[in-house]
C-alpha cells in the first residue's frame, strides 16, 4: 500500500526525465506511449491504492510513507513524505484518471506539432508536481508541488513561444499567481514560527489547541493562505490571468486550467480547514469572494466571442461555487463539485479543442455555426458537457454537485439568503452562456467547413468523460430523493460534515426553484440566440457588453495602478547609484585598456627597453630586500 503511494508521484517524473533527456531521439509513437503510458500506470496505481484504502476505511483513515529525508536544519525537519487520505485520494483520482484521458487525446491533438516530446515532458512534469501537491505530508513539500505546477502552467501557456502574445500570457499568469504565492509562503513561515513543525497534521492539531478562535494571528495566517489559494484558483481579485492562459494548447487548458491546477486553492483550503474554522471572518470572506467571483465571471462569460475564453470564465465561475461551498463549511460538497467540474470542464475544453483544430485555429464562435450535423460525436459530447455545466436537472452530474452547494449556501449555519441569491443568479447565467455556446457554435447556418474529422484517439476520451459527466452525479444524491451519500461519507472521513441550521428550509422547494431557473436560462438562450438573433445582436454592441467582455475592466485597473507606476518608476530610476557602480567598473576597464594600449606600439627596441628596466627593477628589489 505504502509502496504504491510513493510510486504514484514518482512515475510521472520518470516519464518526464526520459522524455526530457531522450525526447529528441525517440519516435512520436514511443513518445506518446511513454507520455500517456506513465500517467496511465499512475491511474492504475491510484485505483489499486484507492480500493485498498476503501477496504480499510473505518479503521485506517490515512496512510503515510516517508521516502527520504529532505531538509534537516535546526528545528526545521521536512521529509519527502506522502500521506493518502480521502481528500488526497479524490484529487489523485481526478488528476490521474482525467489526466490520462487528456494525455491520450493529446497524442492525436498534438500529432503534427514540432514540440511533441516537449509537450509530453511538460505534461508529465505537471502531473508529477500536482500529485506531490495533493499527497504532500508537510506544507513545505506541498509548496514545492504548488510551485512546480505553477512552473508547468507557465511553460505550457507559453508552449507556442514563437508568438509573443503567448509569452506575455505566460508571464502574466506567472506574475499574478506569484502575488498569491508570496502571501502563502509568509503564511507558512508564520505557521512554522508558531509551532516549530511543517507537518500538516501536527500544524492543524497544534493550531486547534493553541490558537483561540478569531484571534488575530489565526485570522492573519488564514488570510495569507487564502491569498495563495485565490491566486492559484483565479478568484477575485487575482482572476485576470486565467482567460489569457487560454493561449496554451487545448489539452493544457483542459488539464491545468480547468480540471486540476486551478482547483489547488480548493485543496489547500480543504486541507487546512481547521485553520480556517479558527478564523470565521476569513471563512466568511471565502464565501463572499466565491459568490462575487461566480457572478463577475458569469457575466464576463456571457459577452465573450472566443470559445476558449467563455470556458475560461466559466471555470473561474465554477471555482467560485467551490469557494462558496468552502466558505459555508460544506467541504464535501465543494470537493464533489471539484470532481464533477473536472469531468465536464475537461470534456468541454477537449471538445472545444477539436472544434478549433478542425476549423484551422478558428476561435470566434460567431464564425462557426452549424457544426451539429458534421461532427455528431463532438456535438453530443459537448452538449452533455454544457448540460452538466449548466446543471440540467435530474439527468446530469452537474445538477447534483451544484445543487448541493446552493442548498448548503442557505441551509448551512454560516449560510445566508444573499449567498444563495448570488449562487442562483450564477446558475441562471451559467445556463444562459452554456447554451449560447451550443446554439451559436453547433446550430444555425454553417459558416466554416471542418478541414477533417477527429479520429478515435480524440473522440473516445470525449465519450468517456461525457459518461462520467452524467453518471458521476449518482455517487451523491440529495436527501429529498435518492439519499445516496457514497461520496460525502468517503470525504467526511477526512473533512468535517457540514453543520446545518436547526430550523431548516424545505430542501425540495429550493431544488425545484433552482431547476426552474436553469430551465429558464436555457429557454432564454434558445430565444435570443437561436430564434431572434437580432435581439442579442443589438446587445452585443452596447457598452455594458464591452465592459463584461473585457472582464469588468480588471486588467485596465491593474494596468493603471500597478503596471504603469512600476514601469514609470523603473524608467526614472534607470541610472541610480547601483547602476553607476557597474558603469564605473566598465569605464575603468576601458580606460586601463586605452592606457596600456599605448605601450603596445610595435617598436621592438621600446619593448626591449621596458624589458630591461623591468629586470633591473626586479633585481634591485631582490638585492636590496
Amino acid at each position: 500500500m505504502t509502496t504504491y503511494i510513493a510510486l504514484i508521484p514518482a512515475i510521472p517524473f520518470l516519464g518526464f526525465l526520459v522524455l526530457a533527456l531522450f525526447g529528441q531521439k525517440l519516435t512520436r509513437k514511443t513518445i506518446g506511449i511513454i507520455g500517456a503510458g506513465s500517467v496511465g500506470i499512475v491511474a492504475l496505481l491510484t485505483f489499486i491504492a484507492g480500493t485498498g484504502f476503501l477496504k480499510s476505511l473505518p479503521q485506517v483513515k490515512s496512510y503515510s510513507v516517508v521516502v527520504w529525508q529532505w531538509i534537516n536544519a535546526g528545528n526545521l525537519k521536512a521529509d519527502i513524505a506522502f500521506s493518502l487520505d480521502a481528500l488526497s485520494l479524490v484529487f489523485c483520482f481526478v488528476i490521474t484518471f482525467v489526466g490520462f484521458l487528456i494525455h491520450v487525446y493529446s497524442i492525436e491533438f498534438m500529432a503534427k506539432d514540432e514540440g511533441f516530446s516537449r509537450f509530453f515532458a511538460y505534461m508529465n512534469l505537471f502531473v508529477g508536481s500536482m500529485l506531490i501537491l495533493v499527497l504532500a505530508d508537510n506544507i513545505l513539500l506541498l509548496y514545492l508541488g504548488w510551485e512546480g505546477v505553477g512552473l508547468c502552467s507557465y511553460l505550457l501557456i507559453g508552449f507556442w513561444y514563437k508568438e509573443p502574445a503567448n509569452g506575455y500570457a505566460a508571464r502574466k499568469a506567472f506574475v499574478i499567481t506569484r502575488v498569491g504565492d508570496t502571501a502563502m509562503i509568509i503564511g507558512i513561515f508564520i505557521l512554522f514560527l508558531s509551532f516549530g513543525t511543517v507537518n500538516i497534521n501536527d500544524l492543524m492539531q497544534q493550531a486547534s489547541e493553541k490558537w483561540i478562535a478569531g484571534s488575530s494571528i489565526a485570522v492573519l495566517t488564514a488570510a495569507l493562505l487564502l491569498g495563495g489559494a485565490l491566486g492559484k484558483s483565479a478568484q477575485l481579485p487575482l482572476q485576470t490571468w486565467l482567460p489569457d492562459a487560454m493561449a496554451g494548447p487545448s489539452p493544457v487548458s483542459a488539464l491545468i486550467h480547468a480540471a486540476t491546477m486551478v482547483t489547488a486553492g480548493v485543496y489547500l483550503i480543504a486541507r487546512t480547514h481547521i485553520l480556517f474554522s479558527l478564523a470565521p471572518i476569513v471563512q466568511a470572506a471565502i464565501a463572499i469572494i466565491g459568490a462575487l467571483t461566480l457572478l463577475v465571471a458569469g457575466f464576463s462569460a456571457l459577452a465573450q466571442h472566443d470559445l476558449k475564453r467563455i470556458l475560461a470564465y466559466s471555470t473561474i465561475s465554477q471555482i467560485g461555487y467551490m469557494f462558496l461551498a468552502l466558505g459555508v463549511g460544506a467541504w464535501s460538497a465543494s470537493v464533489f463539485h471539484f470532481m464533477i467540474h473536472a469531468f465536464f470542464k475537461a470534456l468541454l475544453f477537449l471538445a472545444a479543442g477539436v472544434v478549433i483544430l478542425v476549423l484551422s485555429e478558428e476561435h470566434d464562435i460567431f464564425k462557426m455555426g452549424g457544426l451539429r450535423k458534421k461532427m455528431p460525436v463532438v456535438y453530443l459530447t459537448f452538449l452533455i458537457g454544457a448540460a452538466s455545466l449548466s446543471a440540467l436537472p435530474l439527468i446530469t452530474a452537474g445538477f447534483y454537485s451544484k445543487d448541493a452547494i446552493l442548498w448548503y449556501s442557505i441551509s448551512s449555519e454560516t449560510g445566508s439568503i444573499l449567498l444563495w441569491v448570488a449562487g442562483i443568479t450564477g446558475a441562471f447565467l451559467t445556463a444562459l452562456y452554456s447554451f449560447r455556446m451550443i446554439f451559436i457554435t453547433f446550430f444555425g447556418e454553417a459558416k466554416a467547413q471542418p478541414a477533417f474529422l477527429p479520429g478515435k484517439t480524440m473522440t473516445i476520451p470525449l465519450i468517456i468523460l461525457a459518461v462520467l459527466s452524467v453518471f458521476g452525479g449518482f455517487l451523491e444524491l440529495p436527501e429529498s430523493f435518492g439519499n445516496i451519500h457514497l461520496f460525502s461519507s468517503l470525504v467526511d472521513s477526512t473533512l468535517p460534515a457540514v453543520v446545518v441550521k436547526e430550523a431548516g428550509h424545505s430542501e425540495i422547494l429550493f431544488q425545484s426553484l433552482s431547476a426552474v431557473i436553469v430551465l429558464a436560462g436555457i429557454y432564454l438562450a434558445y430565444t435570443i440566440y437561436l430564434k431572434k438573433p437580432a435581439l442579442s445582436e443589438s446587445f452585443s454592441h452596447s457598452r455594458l457588453n464591452r465592459f463584461f467582455e473585457k472582464g469588468w475592466g480588471f486588467d485596465k485597473f491593474y494596468d493603471v495602478i500597478f503596471v504603469k507606476p512600476v514601469v514609470w518608476l523603473s524608467e526614472i530610476d534607470k541610472d541610480d547609484f547601483f547602476d553607476w557602480l557597474n558603469i564605473c567598473i566598465s569605464r575603468l576597464a576601458l580606460l586601463m585598456n586605452r592606457l596600456l594600449g599605448i605601450t603596445q606600439n610595435g617598436k621592438l627596441r621600446w619593448y626591449l627597453m621596458s624589458f630591461t628596466i623591468g629586470i633591473a627593477l626586479i633585481l634591485t628589489y631582490m638585492i636590496l630586500r
Binding site: 594600449g597 603596445q600 606600439n601 610595435g602 617598436k603 627596441r605 626591449l608 627597453m609 630591461t612
Partner: protein
C-alpha cells in the same frame, strides 16, 4: 700559475653582457642586434666556465656546450627570419618593422 681573482672574471662577464645589452638597445640594424644577442649569450657562457673552474666541476663546461648548440640554432632561425623580413620590408631597420601593434 698566475690566477685572476674570480671577482674580476665575473666583472669581465658582466661588462661583456652590458656591452651586448647596450648594443641591442642602441642599434637599429637587426643584423647588429642579432650579433649583440650573441655577445650576451657568450657572456652567460663565460660565467658557466668561470663557475666550473672555481668549483672544479665539469658541469659548467657541459652547460657551455649546450649553450653553444642553442645559440647556433638561434642564429640559424634568426637569420632566416631576418631574410624574410628583408624580403618583405626591403629594410632591416627594427623601428620600421612595427606592424605588430595595437591599432590606436
Amino acid at each position: 700559475m698566475l690566477t685572476v681573482p674570480v671577482e674580476i672574471q665575473i666583472l669581465l662577464a658582466g661588462i661583456l653582457f652590458l656591452l651586448g645589452l647596450i648594443g641591442l638597445l642602441v642599434r637599429r640594424n637587426m643584423i647588429f642586434m642579432l650579433m649583440s644577442i650573441e655577445i650576451m649569450f657568450n657572456s652567460a657562457g663565460l660565467v658557466f666556465i668561470i663557475a666550473s673552474t672555481y668549483w672544479k666541476q665539469p658541469d659548467g663546461q657541459v652547460m657551455f656546450i649546450f649553450i653553444l648548440a642553442v645559440t647556433a640554432v638561434e642564429v640559424a632561425i634568426g637569420l632566416a627570419l631576418l631574410l624574410q623580413v628583408y624580403h618583405h620590408f626591403k629594410t632591416l631597420d627594427a623601428d620600421s618593422v612595427n606592424k605588430l601593434k595595437d591599432h590606436n
